[in-house]
C-alpha cells in the first residue's frame, strides 16, 4: 500500500457518507460532487491573519515574513489535502497527486494561483484560486476520486511583483532579474532562497512546452462586470495584452505672469488635450479595450511657471494585439496635431509589452458546461489584469474561471467576494478539472 492509497483510506468512510463517487455513475457525470464552501471560508479567514493590516486587508508582499508564514500555513493545508507537497527551486509550492493506479503515461494537469499580495491589498486576489484549488484536491481525496492525469496544485510565488514564479516555470525569468530589488526590500534572488527555493537550481524549474496537459486558474474578476450584470461565472477568453509607453511632451517653461496666452508653449495644456484624446479614441470603437494615463509629471512644477516638460504614461490593453496597435496609431496621429497647435513635441518610448494570452477554446467550453451544470450563469470575458495563467499559456492550453468582485474593487482592503461566489467558483474548477481529465486534449 503506497502512501496515497493509505491516505485515501483514512478519510474514505466519511467521504462516502457525503458524496457518491462520480466514477461510480453510469454516464461519467459528477452531478453531486461539491466542495466544502465553509471550509474554504475558514481557510480564507486563517490565511488573512498573515500580514493582516490594522485598517483591514493584508500586506503580504512576496518574500516578506508574512509571506513566508502564509506559505507555511498553505503548505500544511496541502498536506492535509493528501497532496505530495514540495517547494520547487523557484519557490513555487507544488502539491502532486498521482494519477489513478499510478499511471504516469498522461501529462499532468496543473491548477492553482498565488497568495502574495500588493501593499495594502485584499484577502481575495490569488487567495480564492489558491484555497479553491486546495479545496478541490481535498474534495477529490475525501471522495476517493482518482483521475486519469496526474494533478499538480501550484501556489506560484511573487505573482504581484512580476509573475516571477510562473515565469521561472516557462523559462522567461532571467538571471539579471534575480538581482532586482523587490518590494520586500530583498532582491528576487534573496527572496526565492528566503522562502525555501534554491536559485542555484533554478533551471530545473523550467517545464517544456507541451509537457503539461492543461493549466486551470480560478480568480476573482477584479473588475465590476460580473457583479453589474449579475452573472455568476466569468469564462475568461484570454489575458489581455498590455502595451505601456512613456510619453514626453516638450514645450517651453516660462513665466506664468509675463507670457501672454497666445505666446505659450505649455506642455501641460498639450498633455491635457492628449489625455482627453486617449479617452476619446479608446472609447470611439466597440469592444472592451481600455486606455489609461495613470502617471504624470509636469516640470518644473511651480504654480507660477508654465510647464515646459511633461512625462506621462500611456497604457493600452486588449485581447487583440492588432487592435492595440491600431489605437496607438490613432493616438499618435492626434498627438501630432496637438503638437502642431500647441508648439510642443511628443516623444513615445515603449517601456513594456505583454502580448495577449488567449485561453483554450475547448477548456472555455468545459468551464461553461460545468457552470451551467451547476445552474450558474456565465459570460465570456477578457481578463484585463495579468495572471500566472498568461505564462502557463506559453506551455499548455489554459482556462480561467472568474467570480464576481463586489464593487469591482481589487488591490485594496475593500476587495471582497461573497462566500457563495467563492464556493461556486471552486465547484466550477472541480467540475472543469474532472471533465478535462476525461477529455482527449488534442495536444495531449
Amino acid at each position: 500500500m503506497n502512501r496515497r492509497q493509505f491516505s485515501f483510506g483514512l478519510l474514505g468512510a466519511a467521504g462516502a457518507l457525503m458524496f457518491r463517487s462520480p466514477l461510480a455513475t453510469a454516464n461519467g457525470s459528477v452531478p453531486e460532487l461539491r466542495v466544502n464552501g465553509a471550509r474554504i471560508s475558514e481557510h480564507l479567514s486563517a490565511l488573512a491573519e498573515f500580514g493582516k493590516n490594522p485598517q483591514g486587508g493584508v500586506s503580504r508582499l512576496a518574500y516578506s515574513e508574512a509571506d513566508r508564514r502564509g506559505r507555511e500555513y498553505v503548505f500544511g493545508l496541502m498536506q492535509r489535502a493528501k497532496l505530495d507537497v514540495s517547494i520547487d527551486p523557484a519557490g513555487n509550492i507544488i502539491g502532486r497527486r498521482a494519477a489513478g493506479n499510478n499511471d504516469d503515461s498522461l501529462r499532468p494537469i496543473l491548477f492553482g494561483s498565488h497568495i502574495d499580495s500588493v501593499p495594502e491589498g485584499g484577502n481575495y486576489d490569488g487567495v480564492v484560486g489558491s484555497l479553491g484549488a486546495i479545496e478541490v484536491a481535498q474534495t477529490l481525496a475525501e471522495n476517493h476520486i482518482t483521475t486519469r492525469h496526474p494533478l499538480e496544485v501550484v501556489i506560484f510565488q511573487n505573482e504581484e511583483g512580476g509573475l516571477i514564479g510562473s515565469r521561472a516555470m516557462n523559462g522567461e525569468l532571467s538571471e539579471k532579474e534575480l538581482d532586482l530589488v523587490s518590494r520586500s526590500g530583498k532582491t528576487i534572488r534573496e527572496g526565492i532562497n528566503f522562502i525555501g527555493g534554491d536559485t542555484a537550481k533554478l533551471s530545473g524549474v523550467k517545464r517544456d512546452k507541451g509537457s503539461i496537459a492543461a493549466y486551470l486558474e480560478l480568480h476573482i474578476e477584479q473588475g465590476g462586470v460580473l457583479e453589474t450584470a449579475k452573472i455568476d461565472i466569468g469564462v475568461v477568453e484570454g489575458i489581455v495584452g498590455i502595451n505601456w509607453w512613456d510619453v514626453t511632451i516638450e514645450g517651453f517653461a516660462n513665466h506664468a505672469g509675463t507670457t501672454p496666452m497666445n505666446n505659450r508653449q505649455d506642455a501641460l495644456l498639450a498633455a491635457a488635450k492628449f489625455i482627453e484624446a486617449v479617452n476619446r479614441i479608446v472609447t470611439s470603437i466597440p469592444g472592451r479595450q481600455v486606455g489609461t494615463v495613470g502617471r504624470i509629471q509636469a516640470l518644473p512644477g511651480a504654480p507660477n511657471v508654465i510647464p515646459g516638460k511633461v512625462i506621462l504614461s500611456l497604457e493600452l490593453r486588449d485581447l487583440d494585439a492588432a487592435k492595440i496597435q491600431m489605437l496607438f496609431e490613432k493616438i499618435r496621429t492626434e498627438a501630432g496635431q496637438i503638437a502642431q497647435t500647441g508648439k510642443v513635441t511628443f516623444d513615445f518610448k515603449e517601456i513594456n509589452v505583454n502580448i495577449p494570452a488567449p485561453t483554450d477554446a475547448r477548456i472555455r467550453s468545459l468551464i461553461d458546461q460545468s457552470a451551467k451544470g451547476l445552474g450558474l450563469s456565465t459570460r465570456q470575458m477578457p481578463s484585463g489584469a495579468g495572471h500566472d495563467a498568461q505564462d502557463m499559456a506559453r506551455l499548455a492550453p489554459v482556462g480561467m474561471i472568474f467570480i464576481p468582485s463586489v464593487g469591482g474593487i481589487s488591490h485594496s482592503p475593500k476587495e471582497f467576494s461573497r462566500p457563495q461566489d467563492i464556493t461556486n467558483g471552486a465547484n466550477v474548477l472541480l467540475g472543469t478539472l474532472l471533465k478535462l481529465d476525461r477529455a482527449n486534449l488534442s495536444s495531449g
Copy 2:
C-alpha cells in the same frame, strides 16, 4: 561745507564739460542729460560674477554668500555715486541724497529694485533697475544736479523669495514669516541678520502711508510683448493681481486593466478637461489676463492604476480683481459640469491672493513724456510679474518702466536685454525722476 556739497565739488568740473545743468535752462527741460550706458554695462558684468553659474546666468539667492558679496559690491557703487549709504534693519540697502540746500520739507522720492536672483536665474531681472538707479544717482552727482525732493536709491533684499524687503517697509512682513526657511537654507530672520540687517529693530523699517512722495522702478519686461511689437519702453499700468488656488479632484483609484472605460472615476481625465477649460475660458474674452496650471500630482501615480486623486494649482492674473473673480466663477461652474460627467468631485482651496497694484496715472504720463522726449516708442501694459513696486504702491504713488526682454525669457540663464535698451530705460528713469521732482504731486 557739508559732505554732500564737498562731494559735488569734487566731480563738478568733469561733469560740467559733458552736460549742461538742466536747472540752468530757461524752460526747465533736460534735453541733454544722459546716463553713461557703458558704465552700466561694466557694472552689470562685474555684478554677474557674484553667484555666476558655469552654464551661464547666476544663482544669487537672497541670504547666500553670493548675495552678500554682490550687495557689498553694489554698496560700494552707491558710495561712489555720492549717496549716503546704509543698511536698514530689514537688510535693504538705502542710498540717500539730500534735497538741494538740504531742504527736508518735501518727502523723499524713492527709486530702485533688487539684485537677488532665483536659482539658475539671469543677469537682468532686478539688476537692470538697481544699477540703472545707481547710474541715475551718479549722473546727477556728476552733473551737480540738485533736486527739490530728497532722493533714496533702494536695493530691496529678497525680492524673489516673497518681496521680503519691500514688505518690511510697508509693514506687512509678519514675525511668523521670519522663521520660514528661505531657499538659501537660512530662515528669513537668519538671512536678514546675515546681510547686515537687525531683525530686533525691524519695526523701525516701516514707512507710513503718505510719507514717501513717489516710488519709481525700472525693470526688464520678463515677457515678449515689447520685443514682438518692437516697442522701446513699456509704461506699466499696474502690477497684476495674482490669485492661486489648489484644486483637489477626487475620483476612485482602480485597476487599469479590469475597470471598463464606462465604469471609471478617473481624476486625471477630469483634470485634463479642467486644464483645457481653464485655457479656453481665460482666452474666451479680450484682454491680457492669464491663467495657468503649473503644478499637477496624480495619485497613486502608477501606469496601471486609474488615478483616484489629482491635486493641481490654478493661477489667474489680471489688473482687475473683479475680472479674476469673474473668470474663476466661470471656471468653477465648468468644473461642476466636469465633476458630474466624470463622477468626481472638485474642491478649490485659496492659497494666496495678491491684489492688483495700479500705478499712478500722473507718473505714467511723465514716463511716457520722458520716453517720447528721448525719441523712444512706448506702450502701456500690465506687469504680469510681481515686483517690490506693488508693496510700495500701498505707501505712495508708483511708476514702473519696462524695457524689452529678448525672446521674452526670464528666470533663466538665457535672460537678456540689449545694452541700448538698458541705457534707454535708465535715461527714461532719469528724465521721469527729474520731471517728478518738479511736479506738484497732489498727495505731496
